[in-house]
């Protein structure tokens, strides 16, 4: 198998702790309100095979804040619709002058495939159920800003972990820094094999146990269509796993409530929880920009 193109960010799993710390440090020096033309003259291709608001706009703003040109290519209305293969699309984008490709794709491993056959860096903006590294990095950035460290933090991840690329990336990242992670969800969304993803993971089916004295609670989106494929009804899910103020109170007083978005109020969390003072949901979105500035600068070797 070919090696991935230099500068690519395909996932958190194979990153070293130093790489991650380097990116977080770099992100702290990035300010979207004070543009730095580190990527002047560079072309950032945003290749999106799936709908996305947050990630797409965040990468776009990040690229522009660094002085790069951005081009957005959506699967609908392009040659992709006519059956062009992923790699052929990649070759085309490189030929028109892309310096880096940011890709969101419904299939796991899509970014890795592209990175193995293109010589330009590929940034994974979410591939199927696999990874979403920029989300994990911005979450880590958000946590560290408030808690100063990741080491020893008690983190509860609640919801549909099986289908979640956010969860996989977060678990890899947090476990590399010694967080104590408890996973919580029904068996359909959280198979026992999940504990094999990293060392020291625990599973509980009881949300009260998961959030008890937690420093960080990560709530994941639950899709109704996915619940429909299980024996669990929406009402069951809400009553057993929804994040409510009462459940949030079981966590540490200064616990952070996180969610990668998009949130569905009334399903995985209540209206009050989403907007409560402990909610870091808006801050996560805000932090996405400097973190993605750091990712792009690093990918193109302009990390300063």
């Amino acid at each position: 198998m070919n090696k991935a193109a230099r500068g690519s960010l395909l996932g958190i799993e194979h990153l070293g702790a130093q790489d991650i710390l380097g990116l977080l440090k770099l992100a702290r020096r990035m300010n979207p309100l004070k543009p730095r033309p580190l990527l002047r003259g560079k072309r950032v291709l945003l290749l999106f095979y799936e709908a996305s608001t947050r990630t797409r706009s965040s990468f776009e703003i990040a690229a522009k804040a660094l002085g790069a040109m951005t081009t957005l290519v959506l699967s609908s209305g392009s040659s992709i619709e006519k059956g062009e293969s992923l790699l052929d699309t990649g070759y085309t984008l490189r030929a028109v002058g892309a310096d880096v490709i940011v890709i969101r794709h419904p299939q796991a491993g899509a970014a890795a495939l592209m990175a193995r056959y293109l010589e330009i860096p590929v940034i994974n903006a979410g591939d199927g159920m696999h990874e979403h590294p920029s989300q994990a990095l911005l979450d880590a950035y958000t946590i560290v800003r408030s808690k100063k460290t990741l080491k020893g933090l008690q983190v509860a991840i609640v919801g549909d972990i099986y289908h979640s690329r956010v969860a996989r990336s977060a678990i890899h990242l947090l476990s590399k820094f010694g967080a104590r992670i408890t996973l919580c969800g029904p068996a359909e969304f959280l198979p026992e094999t999940a504990t094999s993803l990293a060392s020291g993971l625990h599973i509980t089916r009881t949300v009260e146990d998961a959030v008890h004295s937690a420093d960080v609670i990560m709530t994941l989106r639950v899709q109704k269509e996915r619940l429909a494929g299980t024996k669990i009804s929406v009402q069951d899910y809400v009553s057993r796993y929804q994040m409510t103020m009462a459940r949030l109170k079981l966590a540490k007083k200064d616990a952070m409530l996180m969610h990668p978005g998009p949130i569905i109020r009334g399903l995985e969390l209540t209206w009050e929880v989403a907007d409560c003072p402990q909610s870091a949901i808006v801050e996560e979105v805000r932090n996405g920009v400097p973190v993605r500035m750091a990712i792009l600068a690093k990918a193109l070797g302009r990390a300063r």
């Binding site: 198998m1 799993e13 293969s85 992923l86 790699l87 794709h105 299939q107 796991a108 491993g109 899509a110 890795a112 495939l113 056959y117 591939d127 199927g128 159920m129 696999h130 990874e131 099986y162 690329r165 996989r168 198979p191 094999t193 999940a194 094999s196 993803l197």
Partner: protein, 435 residues
């Protein structure tokens, strides 16, 4: 020498003859004449003379290897493989007979196509035994004409790739085939449990975010089929590419009963596990998928203890545009004809101390018995002159780019193997010789 087919003889001299069916493991000369085995005798003791001699000293001389499960892709998919290229790869891998699967375009579900596969125009360099579809277009509904297919030369029926799920259809398949002593080959997979799955269920699938096939999807079908087979005297159920410990349990139960239940295991399933998929390497994607380490261990035990009847490659060539794509979209299957022996010697003989004679049995007498291939799988006098000569010590590196197959989708490119085919003889004539 330019001799007519009916008048040619070849003496294979001084090799160690391993013929498990005849219980021979000794240094012997083998004289082939007119396409058949004319004589086996201790060195220098054959009475007849030969036009040519093959010096097999230091080598193993075995009955020609038989592969029960290959995809030669004709008719219709010559861009992946042709009968000519596929059988050239077979010859290079020491296989003198291959049984080809009917999941072509169109599906081989008529006597005409069965006949077509065997015509000399196809350019086969080894024996080709067609396996016909069990149902029309392998749609799992209407049975094909087993008698007519058998008369045309089909050695078994299957809907390989698409298991026969419907209980009634499978029962009818076993009932009708039992009347004519025709094996039914099942690709055991409850596809209702494997929707959108692209590898084995387990830690690697979870890590990669891929949906996983559970072992139960294979085992449940084998269990059902074993039970159905017991209902009909003479029914012959052959489990294709068996890959899980639980399916083995069902096969063992079947073997203890009166029914004829047999199974095959592929080299990749005894050599690799799902962890080898690594970072979405589609050359490790096949169906059934690479399984867990404990499944692999169970297969090794069953290969040694006799539960497994044959090693079959499930040689499944695919073109680059079907493999160098997203993992979930990539075609299932890998090539396997040229690496089977080397993998068997490394993993079974060296790795697990399975004697060479048992390995030869898994490539010869075992598969010949499964499909009742008369006069094959042994070198007793009067058998077909199909011989595989190999060097069990020879270390070599497999170069996928130099494969005889039209396709190069193998996980073993660059693999260090031990045990190499030196010559392959079909019908008394050398069809492959290593350089």
């Amino acid at each position: 020498m330019n001799l007519k087919k009916g008048n040619y003889s070849l003496l294979v001299k001084g090799g160690r003859l391993i013929d498990p069916a005849a219980k021979i493991d000794a240094t012997m000369d083998v004289l082939l004449r007119d396409g058949l085995v004319a004589e086996i005798a201790p060195p220098g003791k054959t009475r007849g003379t030969a036009h040519e001699k093959f010096d097999a000293r230091g080598l193993i001389v075995a009955p020609g290897f038989i592969d029960l499960h290959v995809h030669l892709r004709e008719p219709g998919q010559g861009y992946k493989e042709t009968i000519a290229t596929g059988t050239a790869a077979a010859a290079a891998g020491g296989f003198t007979s291959v049984c080809c699967m009917p999941n072509t375009q169109p599906v081989v579900d008529s006597p005409e196509w069965v006949t077509w596969l065997q015509q000399p125009e196809r350019g086969a360099v080894v024996n080709v035994f067609p396996i016909a579809a069990a149902t029309h277009a392998s749609k799992g509904a209407v049975l094909t004409d087993f008698r007519a297919l058998q008369r045309a030369g089909a050695v078994g029926v299957t809907d390989d790739g698409k298991p026969i799920l419907n209980d009634g259809v499978m029962r009818e398949t076993l009932r009708l085939s039992s009347e004519i002593n025709l094996p039914v080959i099942q690709h055991a997979e409850d596809t209702r449990m494997t929707d959108r799955c692209s590898m084995n269920d387990g830690p690697t699938a979870f890590r990669l975010g891929l949906r996983g096939m559970k072992a139960a999807a294979e085992a449940s079908i084998v269990e059902r089929d074993v039970q159905l087979a017991q209902q009909f005297t003479g029914a012959r159920l052959h489990v294709a590419h068996l890959s899980t410990a639980d399916a083995l349990k069902a096969v063992r139960r079947g073997k203890r009963s009166k029914s004829q239940v047999t199974c095959e295991v592929t080299p990749h399933h005894f050599a690799l596990t799902d962890a080898d998929v690594g970072e979405y390497d589609t050359n490790f994607k096949m169906n059934p998928p690479l399984r867990s380490d404990s499944d692999r261990e169970a297969l090794l035990v069953a290969l040694a203890d006799g539960t497994v009847d044959a090693i079959a490659t499930d040689h499944a060539p695919h073109a680059p545009h079907e493999k160098i794509i997203e993992f979930e979209r990539a075609a299932f299957g890998i090539t396997g004809l040229e690496t089977a022996l080397g993998l068997a010697i490394i993993h079974l003989h060296r790795g697990h101390k399975i004697p060479l004679s048992r390995i030869v049995e898994l490539f010869t007498a075992g598969p010949a018995r499964v499909f009742s291939l008369r006069g094959r799988g042994t070198l007793i006098r009067g058998s077909h002159g199909d011989v595989t000569i190999f060097d069990p010590q020879k270390r070599w590196t497999f170069d996928a780019a130099k494969s005889h197959s039209r396709s190069h989708n193998t996980p073993f490119g660059g693999a260090q193997l031990t045990g190499k085919v030196v010559a392959t003889i079909v019908g008394g004539r050398v069809v492959y010789r290593a350089d």
